[in-house]
């Protein structure tokens, strides 16, 4: 028993080695960029850290930023476990957002009771939306990367059209009606600023994803299909049905993310709506090795950097965009394991072991 625990810890440690090295390298590179802008890297980084975790408000901002990314990260991770690349998180999130914006207003009279109903509806629309590329792949062999990318345009534009035409509120601000505060996800309080209980829902979603993948028959099948379609077929599992389900479940996660943004942050769907949450989910999943726990950590890093960047820009002249550079370098290093091997020698790679290929390979 304790040997198993030790193995699990070593596994987890090994999985963290690469991302941590990548983060360290990116900060070193970033320091040179800060120097080039004529600022002191230490000042800039201390502002960055202060802005991310330096105060309850800062932490609240980090959690707020991480919340949707956990959902979209899970959308990528679950599909990836079935060997599929879900690039459709953006469109799926919009589908969830418009579902919540419409139903949130419609069911507002139910008060807080409407929240679970609305989110459930997001699960359904996201599931159906996510199933489309799954069916296209299982039935016609259309590559899911292409179809999910294309469905992004359709999803974003469909949601935007609905928000601008049939569901448009009266008044000057383009978008849907504001949802009554009683029917929104409440703030956590505790001085955490605008952080809301959506973050706890995101953590719950990560737990659900974990249980689904490692504790259910369906998850067993999804993982088997992802790791070895040949062996899954040999064992009598349907490749097609698992392809459809993995993408559909991924879609549901992203759509709930969109719903939580609407119910917890904006209270409506504005046009333009928040962008890139779906795409950043890909980075989060990559960083988190497609494991729910990793996704949570990855999303917190993304959220923290975004939050810290505001403070950094405020107290130094370093532009916000520095954090994008840091993230880009981190992702580059996490994906390009060979590059890290070249930079740091084989030992770093050996430390992380074969787990790397496990997370990213194929």
């Amino acid at each position: 028993m304790s040997a198993r625990l030790r193995r699990a810890l070593v596994d987890a440690g090994g999985a963290l080695v690469f991302p941590l090295i990548a983060i360290a390298i990116s900060f070193v590179l970033g320091a040179f960029i800060v120097l080039a802008t004529g600022n002191n890297p230490l000042t800039a980084y201390s502002a960055l850290v202060r802005g991310a975790v330096g105060s309850p408000t800062a932490i609240g901002r980090t959690l707020l930023g991480a919340t949707p990314l956990i959902f979209t990260g899970l959308a990528v991770a679950v599909a990836f476990r079935a060997g599929l690349f879900n690039i459709g998180g953006e469109g799926q999130l919009y589908i969830g957002a418009i579902t919540a914006a419409w139903l949130g207003v419609t069911l507002a009279s139910l008060g807080a009771l409407s929240i679970p109903l609305v989110l459930l509806a997001c699960v359904v629309t996201g599931f159906l939306w996510g199933a489309i590329p799954g069916v296209l792949k299982a039935r016609f062999g259309a590559h899911e990367v292409i179809t999910t990318i294309m469905l992004n345009y359709i999803g974003i534009n469909l949601a935007t059209y609905l928000a601008l035409k049939p569901l448009r509120t009266e008044g000057l601000v383009p978008g849907t009606d504001a949802i009554d505060f009683a029917a929104r996800i409440p703030f956590i309080g505790l001085g955490l600023g605008r952080a809301n209980y959506g973050f706890l829902l995101a953590l719950l979603a990560a737990v659900v994803a974990y249980l689904l993948l490692w504790r259910t028959r369906r998850g067993f099948q999804i993982r088997a299909v992802g790791l070895s379609p040949g062996a899954a077929n040999y064992a009598g599992m349907g490749i097609g049905i698992n392809t459809v389900l993995a993408l559909a479940i991924g879609g549901a996660f992203a759509a709930v993310g969109g719903g939580v943004e609407v119910l917890g942050v904006y209270g409506k769907m504005t046009v333009p709506f928040v962008t890139n949450l779906g795409f950043n989910g890909i980075g989060v999943a990559l960083l988190g090795r497609n494991h729910p726990a990793g996704v949570v950590l990855g999303a917190l890093l993304f959220g923290g950097l975004a939050s810290g960047a505001q403070e950094m820009q405020f107290s130094t002249d370093v532009p916000l965009q520095l954090t994008n550079v840091l993230l880009a370098v981190i992702l580059l290093l996490v994906t390009a394991t060979k590059l890290v091997e070249l930079l740091l020698g084989k030992r770093a790679r050996a430390l992380a072991g074969a787990r790397l290929e496990k997370g990213l390979g194929q």
Binding site: T216, R217, A224, S228, A231, Y234, G236
Partner: protein, 520 residues
């Protein structure tokens, strides 16, 4: 009879030494794949390189061919220290390699394949006429008959192998390495290959032959170097040894090369097929109207050269590939429309030919793999949930019972050796007490010790009254285990013989020549 043995491979070469590998060491992480290996090769000699899977033969040859660089040790070609960094260096030193899996381009002709990368030019363009002329010249000189204008796609496997050899000769190879060359050949094609090899050494070439088939090595090689656990155990003269002695050296203990078989107690038909037609992934008719019947208590062997429909036959019988037409029956019940899962529940076990991509999920733990087919049944599952603990407990028992090393349910399947992986597959398939067993190449790429274990298990199942269909490319295996042998050629069963059939009989059938056509 005196056995002349020489240690370490420095002596015993009558002719001048053309190649020497000295103290070669290569480690992969904690594994010492080669540990101070030294071999010598004389001019005009055939050196057999014998060892179990994972003993380090391939690593050594990859070092020689510049695919790996050694941690220690040196390679000496023609008395000169050779720095071989990549295959190009190896080729320029006159070293040629024929890989187990061919590296030909099917759409190109024989001549084009042979000159590819070293083309004769006329101005800026390929001098095709010269390529054809050169190919013809070479093929005539060494008796490697093949038409330079034929597309490689239209060649038989044996002919493709000749093209591979010609490719190395065209690049002026003086040292030829052949990796398991007979694995894909019929007995007759093997004979042809060996006579070509003799021709080559008579012409002054030197050959290293990698194989695990003991009998073949004795017939063709001059000396045999045995490698075990990355070290040279011994180098022996082929003339002064026998199969038993070689097997002992290779495995490190006494090995039963032939399993003892009791009289068959044949019962009812348990697995049968009628008019079975199956298409391959590419759409070709891979199984063409096959009918067969396996009864309880017997082993029906299916012999044949690789790629004659064995894979599709096994998959269609097991239910992992749809049959286009025909009927499959399990214990009398028509299961043609029943999927793999249903057939497994009806008592069908299936050891697939490819444990790497079918039999096991390499990145699953052994306990997950052990439950790969029963994850949805009690006690592993209830109401859609699965119980890893129960899986682990059951796996631990099964792994111990089938001597899988390590017997650790949490170990990743891919971390095990080939033999242990196969034992893990066997543990899963046989522990459910199936009535019918389809074993497709159950010992491919498995070490001698594990082969013995697997053979015993199959015979044990036979004596329990199970019906066993054994599909194998290894004639020896089919012959020693089967009660009847069906020969498959081009998707059809072309004949059935007893286990005492001669090599020649079997070989002719495997080449598609049925009795009636023999005289014609």
């Amino acid at each position: 009879m005196t056995e002349e043995r020489t240690r370490g491979g420095t002596a015993g070469v009558g002719a001048p030494v053309v190649l020497e590998m000295r103290g070669v060491t290569k480690t992969f992480g904690p594994v010492r794949a080669n540990d101070g290996v030294s071999i010598t090769l004389g001019r005009g000699e055939i050196l057999g390189l014998l060892g179990e899977n994972g003993a380090g033969k391939s690593t050594l040859m990859k070092i020689l061919y510049g695919l790996y660089s050694p941690d220690e040790g040196e390679v000496i070609v023609d008395g000169e220290r050779a720095e071989i960094k990549d295959p190009k260096d190896a080729v320029s030193r006159g070293i040629g390699m024929v890989h187990q899996h061919f590296t030909l381009i099917p759409a190109l002709t024989v001549a084009e394949n042979i000159v590819l990368g070293a083309e004769p030019r006329k101005g800026a363009t390929l001098d095709l006429a010269r390529a054809i002329r050169d190919t013809e010249e070479l093929s005539e000189r060494y008796g490697l008959r093949v038409n330079p204008r034929t597309r490689v796609a239209d060649l038989s496997v044996g002919e493709q192998q000749r093209v591979e050899i010609l490719k190395t000769l065209y690049r002026k190879a003086r040292i030829l390495v052949l990796d398991e060359p007979t694995a894909v050949l019929t007995p007759q094609e093997t004979e042809d290959l060996f006579s070509v090899l003799k021709e080559l050494v008579a012409d002054g070439l030197s050959i290293i032959l990698i194989t695990h088939k003991l009998g073949e090595l004795l017939g063709i090689s001059d000396r045999i170097t045995i490698i075990r656990d990355g070290k040279v155990v011994e180098t022996v003269e082929a003339a002064g040894t026998d199969e038993g002695a070689l097997a002992r050296l290779m495995v490190g203990r006494e090995v039963l090369l032939r399993v003892e078989k009791t009289e068959a107690k044949v019962g009812e038909a348990r697995l049968s097929a009628e008019g079975l037609v199956v298409r391959s992934g590419a759409g070709a008719k891979a199984v063409d109207e096959i009918g067969l019947e396996v009864r309880g208590g017997e082993i029906l062997g299916v012999a044949g050269v690789d790629g004659n429909g064995q894979t599709e036959l096994a998959e269609a019988l097991a239910g992992t590939r749809p049959a286009e037409s025909g009927v499959v029956r399990l214990d009398g019940e028509d299961v043609t429309r029943v999927g793999a899962n249903g057939r497994q529940e009806r008592g069908l076990a299936y050891v697939p030919e490819d444990r790497g991509t079918k039999g096991l999920v390499q990145d699953f733990s052994l306990s997950e793999n052990n439950a790969l087919k029963t994850y949805d049944e009690a006690p592993f599952s209830k109401w859609g949930w699965i119980f890893p603990k129960a899986m682990r407990r059951r796996a631990a028992e099964a792994l111990r019972a089938y001597d899988v090393r390590p017997p650790d349910p949490d170990a990743r399947a891919g971390s095990l050796s080939g033999g242990n992986q196969q034992k893990a597959v066997l543990a899963r398939e046989l522990s459910g007490d199936p009535g019918v067993i389809i074993a497709a190449q159950p010992t491919r790429g498995v070490d001698v010790g594990a082969i013995e274990f697997i053979h015993r298990q199959l015979l044990e199942q036979r004596s329990q009254g199970k019906a066993i269909l054994l599909i194998s490319l290894e004639l020896e295996e089919v012959r020693s285990l089967s009660d009847r042998i069906a020969v498959i050629y081009d998707g059809r069963i072309v004949g059935e013989v007893g286990p005492d059939a001669t090599d020649e009989e079997l070989g002719l059938l495997m080449a598609g020549r049925t009795g009636g056509e023999k005289g014609a």
